[in-house]
């Protein structure tokens, strides 16, 4: 490293890369890869995408030469048309495929474009905790100021909590809005908690957005994964919200194909145009064949919407079973899960666990980080520490939770169960 100091005597990296170089996924996926683990950590299915989208992808790959060359930069025409058609029906607003939709490389890049296009230095962005970790560095990179407001459990100490018991305090939320507030970021269903915001809760947020003239960035990548009859509500469909909401979706989460990295933003054209400017200077085009396949997926789902053959019915039904399986397994070993109303993660309280975390290399890290690393290395079970989803000011309060992913084959969940049972029996 001495050599690089000789190479460049002046500053090398741009300041915007300062303080955003740590990443929980990079750290923990590497850890899971380095040890032979049962992986309930990073959120991806270990089963295949549904046949119909796999076939659509193969059809695209063997399609004409255009399938392997650049398509329209802001979104492959069949895809933006099928997204507009599909979501117009749900949002109750006519969505223009060319003006109101932008396709991105995963929902991740959609978030990036949103922050880059809409947040300036000095703007405040309210982030509801726990939050998908990338929101914070993305706000930092554009020079914005993150203002955090945590979801808190309504009732302390009850036996089985549901994510529905975690709520925003109306007064606390209102107090976070200032003249500098540019946007609020919500994620419903929420990662990692699994909370599915109710209409009244979204209305409370909407009222504040309208009152303070603030944008709402709504990360809805898990929109189809709701359980127990909970309904996913789109904040963009509430009165006065279409023109100020940026709704983000994911082909990867929708069709269990996270490796395709197809995401999108749907919003009013006057907002999308700024995101297009960022997009055209960032990646410009997204890969063609995967977009074609996702378009076919949405065409099919449009026809089958609400019927038992719809993947959007089948996937949550399948995951509801797995959710139950994982919850029972965690309870049986003394971990206290919080039942998620949606999404494919479950967090569990590890306070009752007594383990000698004698790993010197992690001694300065938060409790849950240490525990997760210990569980990975010593027991071969990968999870994710929940304080990674909190701001520095609140993370200490929440370092007693770890996150499990249950969008896994039953055999994977069984293997996790074996590990946990053996461990609880003192082996």
């Amino acid at each position: 490293m001495c050599l690089f100091q000789i190479i460049m005597s002046r500053r090398l990296n741009a300041r915007r890369t300062e303080g955003v170089d740590k990443n929980v996924w990079v750290e923990f996926t590497k850890l899971a890869a380095d040890y032979k683990v049962v992986n309930l950590g990073q959120g991806f299915p270990d089963f295949s995408p549904p046949k119909f989208v796999q076939e659509a992808f193969c059809k695209a790959v063997s399609g004409g030469p255009q399938m392997h060359q650049y398509t329209r930069a802001f979104g492959h025409p069949p895809l933006v048309k099928s997204l507009a058609k599909f979501f117009s029906r749900i949002v109750g607003h006519e969505i223009d495929p060319l003006e109101d939709v932008l396709v991105t490389v995963g929902a991740y890049q959609a978030l990036f474009c949103a922050f880059q296009a809409l947040i300036d230095e000095g703007d405040e962005v309210i982030i509801v905790e726990p939050f998908f970790d990338c929101y914070q560095p993305m706000v930092k990179m554009v020079g914005g100021k993150a203002v955090y407001v945590p979801l808190r459990p309504k009732v302390e100490g009850s036996a089985v909590l549901s994510s529905g018991d975690w709520v925003l305090s109306a007064e606390e939320l209102a107090s976070k809005f200032t003249p500098r507030t540019k946007a609020i970021v919500i994620n419903t269903p929420n990662n990692p908690l699994g909370k599915v915001y109710k209409t009244e809760e979204l209305q409370m947020i909407a009222d504040l957005c309208i009152k303070h003239d603030v944008l709402c960035i709504s990360d809805e990548v898990y929109e189809w994964l709701t359980y127990d009859g909970n309904k996913h509500v789109k904040i963009a469909s509430l009165p006065g919200m279409w023109e100020r909401t940026i709704t983000i979706g994911s082909g990867g989460k929708t069709f269990s194909a996270t490796g395709w990295k197809v995401g999108w933003v749907i919003s009013s054209g006057h907002i999308i145009k700024h995101m297009k400017t960022i997009h055209q200077n960032c990646v410009y085009h997204c890969p063609t064949a995967a977009q074609e396949a996702v378009a076919c997926g949405f065409e099919r789902e449009y026809q089958l919407f609400g019927t038992p053959e719809s993947y959007f019915q089948q996937l949550p039904a399948m995951l509801q079973q797995k959710r139950k399986k994982l919850a029972l397994c965690l309870e049986s070993v003394g971990l206290q899960p919080i039942m998620p109303e949606g999404g494919y993660f479950m967090i569990a309280d590890i306070s009752s666990v007594k383990v000698d975390l004698n790993d010197q290399s992690t001694k300065d890290e938060p409790n849950d980080f240490r525990f997760v690393k210990w569980l990975t290395k010593e027991k071969g079970l990968a999870t994710i520490p929940v304080s990674a989803f909190y701001s520095p000011e609140h993370s200490k309060e929440f370092d007693k939770y770890i996150r499990f992913c249950f969008v896994k084959e039953d055999s994977t969940l069984d293997a996790a169960e074996d590990i946990l049972i053996k461990w609880s029996q003192g082996q």
């Binding site: 690089f4 190479i7 460049m8 090398l12 741009a14 915007r16 890369t17 955003v20 170089d21 996924w25 990079v26 996926t29 890869a33 991806f44 299915p45 270990d46 089963f47 295949s48 995408p49 796999q54 992808f57 193969c58 790959v61 063997s62 030469p65 399938m67 392997h68 060359q69 650049y70 398509t71 329209r72 930069a73 025409p77 495929p97 060319l98 991105t104 490389v105 991740y108 890049q109 990036f112 296009a117 990338c134 560095p137 993305m138 269990s256 194909a257 490796g259 395709w260 990295k261 700024h274 400017t277 055209q280 200077n281 960032c282 990646v283 410009y284 997204c286 890969p287 063609t288 064949a289």
Partner: protein
């Protein structure tokens, strides 16, 4: 720094160039969508009879094994889920092998390589990771149009220097365009953070010689600057020329990011996979940008490119290697393109590399005074050519700054990585040029 102004500027700049490119692209899509920008070209309807030599993508198919590798990858469950953020392991290992051989050094697949969304994504990660407000970045004209807006978006100042034409040659080639050493030297100062070079160059097709690269390297070392080397067309170099990697010159590995592209390498521009190769102390900052922008690239595509690279690595230096067989195929198309342009009375600039060719339209003496608007001559010429001749190209002033527009406004850029039937159609138009 007024960020808002900056963003606005970026938008304004990119509008002109990309609006035009978008329009050309839209001609190919049978009116599936309307032109969405307010352009003067609204009278040009989407017309499938227009021969499109504008936007730079092949209409020849990619090698079948590459498509097969993709179909195969997508049939493996795990390949449809997230892979390693900075690059799928089999891909970075394949890249390490191929480029290790080309560079003549060991390249660490995990710390010295980043996989990105196309060469475009590598350029973006490089700028965002290493360039900021207060920096200057030297850009050689004509340049791939995104360099300037990306430099601006990073908060820095683009400093332009044109390639200049040596006078007096009968047949013009891209080698007749050169950088004036004194002029180049004058552009470097204490604020210069980097110079961007593109070899083979888009749009001229120039392949920088070792001496030229040494001159640039000397300045980089003297002024302690970085070098961003866009080498996406690195395999498309024609007989008598050699692609030299500036990173292989003494003192340059530690200050260079070299950018490559699967799209250009395997004729699959729609796969949007590229890579940055360089020393760990630079690549790590690009990786930081990656993990905060889109995190990871699509898995099955990366797996397929890895297979393609490994296959051709075995065949390197043999005629069956796609890296050389494509160049051979294109050389024939290049020569054909040049001949038919001359038939029409244009003066082609024979490229040493890449798949674009400039044509000087001066000798046509085409009167365009009837066309309103204050755009440069080449913009008007291309509009006129699309309308009157049904042939599309790109105006070259799209690739230069304001001060150099006069120098380049008689040139148009044509893409020749096209099927024979496309070139046949172009030939018909060009043969009949004078008659119409």
């Amino acid at each position: 720094m007024n960020w808002e102004f900056q963003r606005y500027f970026v938008a304004i700049f990119t509008r002109n160039v990309l609006e035009f490119l978008f329009l050309i692209c839209s001609l190919f899509n049978n009116g599936l969508f309307r032109c969405q920008f307010r352009v003067a070209f609204t009278s040009v309807a989407a017309d499938p009879s227009i021969v499109n030599l504008g936007q730079g993508y092949p209409d020849i198919p990619p090698p079948s094994y590459v498509k097969e590798a993709l179909a195969e990858a997508a049939s493996v469950d795990r390949m449809n889920q997230y892979t390693r953020g900075f690059g799928h392991p089999s891909l970075v290992k394949a890249l390490s092998q191929v480029y290790g051989k080309v560079h003549g050094r060991q390249i660490d697949p995990f710390t010295e390589i980043l996989v990105t969304v196309g060469g475009y994504g590598s350029l973006f990660s490089t700028m965002q990771g290493l360039v900021e407000e207060g920096d200057e970045v030297i850009i050689i004209e004509p340049f791939f149009d995104c360099y300037v807006p990306m430099v601006r978006m990073a908060g820095a100042k683009p400093v332009l220097i044109p390639l200049r034409l040596k006078s007096g040659n009968k047949t013009i080639t891209s080698a007749d365009w050169f950088l004036d050493p004194d002029e180049l030297s004058s552009k470097f100062n204490s604020k210069t953070k980097a110079i961007i070079i593109n070899t083979p160059n888009n749009p001229i097709g120039k392949v920088f010689t070792r001496d030229e690269l040494q001159m640039i390297a000397d300045l980089c070392i003297k002024h302690d600057t970085l070098c961003f080397s866009d080498e996406v067309y690195e395999w498309l170099v024609y007989r008598g020329h050699q692609h030299i990697k500036i990173a292989t010159l003494p003192g340059m590995w530690d200050r260079t990011i070299a950018i490559g592209s699967a799209g250009k390498t395997f004729s699959v521009t729609g796969w949007k996979l590229g890579w940055s190769i360089g020393p760990e102390h630079l690549i790590k900052h690009l990786q930081t940008v990656m993990q905060n922008t889109l995190y990871t690239c699509p898995t099955p595509l990366q797996e397929a490119v890895a297979q393609g690279l490994l296959r051709n690595f075995e065949l390197m230096d043999q005629p069956e290697c796609y890296f050389s067989s494509l160049a051979e195929e294109l050389e024939g198309k290049r020569d054909r393109m040049a001949a038919i342009l001359q038939e029409a009375g244009m003066t082609p600039v024979i490229p040493e590399g890449g798949y674009f060719m400039l044509a000087d339209v001066t000798s046509l003496n085409q009167d365009l005074s009837h066309m309103v608007g204050d755009e440069a001559y080449d913009y008007k010429f291309v509009q006129w050519m699309i309308k009157e001749k049904k042939l599309a190209a790109i105006p070259v002033t799209a690739f230069v700054g304001d001060e150099s527009k006069k120098q380049f406004e008689k040139y148009i850029r044509l893409c020749f990585i096209k099927q024979d039937s496309t070139l046949d159609a172009a030939e018909t138009i060009l043969k009949n040029w004078k008659k119409m």
